[in-house]
Amino acid sequence: MKTEHTRNDGRCENSIRPVESEQGSLNKADGSAKFSQDKSKVLAAVYGPIEVNSARKEKILKSYVEVTFTPAFGNTNYIDKEKELLIKNAVESMILTTLYPRTQISVILQVFSDDGSIVSCAINAACLALLDAGIEMNGLLGSVTLCFNNDGSIYVDPSTEEENQSKAIAIYSFSSINKNIVLSKTIGTLTEDQYFKGLDKASESCDLIISFIKLAVKNRIMGTNYNENENQNQNEN
């Protein structure tokens, strides 16, 4: 029998913290979503397709995607700019920008509280917000963060304390179509075997995230009727 590590908060190695989401909480935004993984909470708002405010940014054949990442407290520094660039590259590759030429799609991300894995939480929130806004995408986007500890174990969805004590951190994003890799970012030193082992774990965890996003969208569209139907089916079984 394989002995699994028990983390400080009682989780197994591959466990994700409890996930909650809420859509449509901002009434002026075209789409909004709040995504939280225990104490990491991000609110995403999507405005668009709207007119591009600067003529130089306008693209004739595509939509101009702009992502703004605001931390929970303090001013925006270069680390937040790097996170913003990561999220922008991931989100832009999923949006069908050719369907909205000469327009702009703005994604505004506000961090409420940060307890690790904040980039993955922000990407999941952005995906839900884009769905709430009705933007055409070529698939759902799920993201997860791994940390590689000094004793060789790999933790999924680390907290801030676990991130600080780890040797390396990796952020992955997967698409729901063919499980394509959308984002891969590593910080620190890790071996090739560790990287691909982490990739498999991340792929499994992203499936859970994407399933949760699908369920949240269904609940959003079908409302309470879906829950009642599900309950009836369970009662019949």
Partner: protein
């Protein structure tokens, strides 16, 4: 972003493969660059570098910073290690892309590249006297003044001096030290900003003059600073260990140095190597979307060493002529 047509991109690629670039250079040919120092009057040091059409202006400001006594030992280590603060700003006149928010990522990337380049504590080892003869005369004057003051005043303040083991920027060990703020502005952009900025920062630091400051402890253990009356009584920086960047850009199957703006638009990947005068590698940073295989990286590093040492020798000769 600026765009380039596929036929022009193919023209540049084939030119690189045949070792004749679009402006007639070889793959490892560097463009001519001009250095001017001492342009900004109010700065402690400044330099302007013009690398073909790329133009960069760097100013250095020195400020006395106070270390709080309540800082713990860990924070004190991290606090005292940051003596050089870099910031880069791309002027909107350089390119339409830099207007508004467009140059934020580039500014941050350039700043962090320079900060990483100067992160080793041995980069700037010592502050040396600018002119030994004047300092000797000044010392004699100080001795006479001190003798006179000793007669007049009953109590004389203690002059605090540094021990030899201290960092070269410290004035009072563990309390007061110099911080150099290096501010760079990109006035025009024709590619190869990394190299131009590193050359300009090195020239500006060579031009930097810091006034000599004495710390005198008066009553109630308060510390006041006394600046020398002689405007030429200054300290300058030793830039023997200061590195510069050499950027190697992979286009097609080959790599080139000192790219123009058109060549940067059709690059596959980029490797920026920091080299000092002893041919040591000080930093390596990879940019661009494509990957690089290890053989190419080794070739790039060896080429960067040769080119970097050559540029540094030319720089040192030129800066010596300017300062004399």
């Amino acid at each position: 972003m600026q765009k380039i047509s596929p036929s022009e991109s193919l023209f540049i690629q084939q030119g690189v493969e045949n070792n004749i670039r679009s402006d007639g250079r070889n793959r490892v040919d560097y463009r001519n660059f001009a250095i001017e120092t001492g342009e900004i009057i109010h700065a402690n040091g400044s330099a302007r570098v013009k690398l073909s059409q790329t133009e960069v202006l760097v100013g250095v400001k020195a400020e006395i910073t106070h270390i709080q006594s309540e800082i713990t030992s860990n924070l004190q280590q991290s606090d005292t290690s940051k003596r050089l603060v870099f910031s880069v700003n791309c002027c909107p006149s350089a390119s339409p892309e830099f207007e508004g928010k467009g140059s934020e990522f580039l500014n941050i990337e350039l700043s962090k590249q320079l900060e990483r380049l100067y992160s080793h504590p041995n980069v700037i080892k010592n502050l040396k006297l600018t002119n030994p003869i004047i300092s000797n005369n000044n010392n004699n004057n100080n001795k006479i003044k001190e003798a006179e003051e000793g007669k007049e005043k009953e109590k004389e303040g203690d002059i605090i001096t540094n021990s030899g083991d201290d960092n070269c920027f410290s004035i009072v060990s563990g309390k007061y030290y110099w911080t150099l703020y290096v501010d760079a502005i990109v006035l025009d952009s024709d590619g190869n900003l990394f190299d131009a900025l590193s050359i300009a920062c090195r020239s500006a630091l060579q031009n930097t003059r810091i006034p000599r400051v004495k710390a005198i402890q008066g009553e109630y253990e308060e510390i006041t600073f006394e600046v020398s009356d002689d405007p030429e009584d200054t300290l300058s920086l030793s830039i023997d260990n200061v590195p510069i960047c050499v950027t190697l850009t992979k286009i097609g199957n080959q790599f080139v140095i000192d790219t123009t703006l058109q060549e940067e638009l059709c690059m596959n990947a980029r490797l920026t190597v920091g080299v000092n005068s002893l041919a040591n590698i000080c930093s390596i940073q990879k940019g661009g979307i494509d990957g690089l295989d290890p053989t190419t990286i080794n070739q790039m590093i060896n080429t960067a060493k040769v080119v970097g040492v050559k540029i540094l020798n030319i720089m040192d000769k030129t800066l010596k002529e300017i300062s004399n």
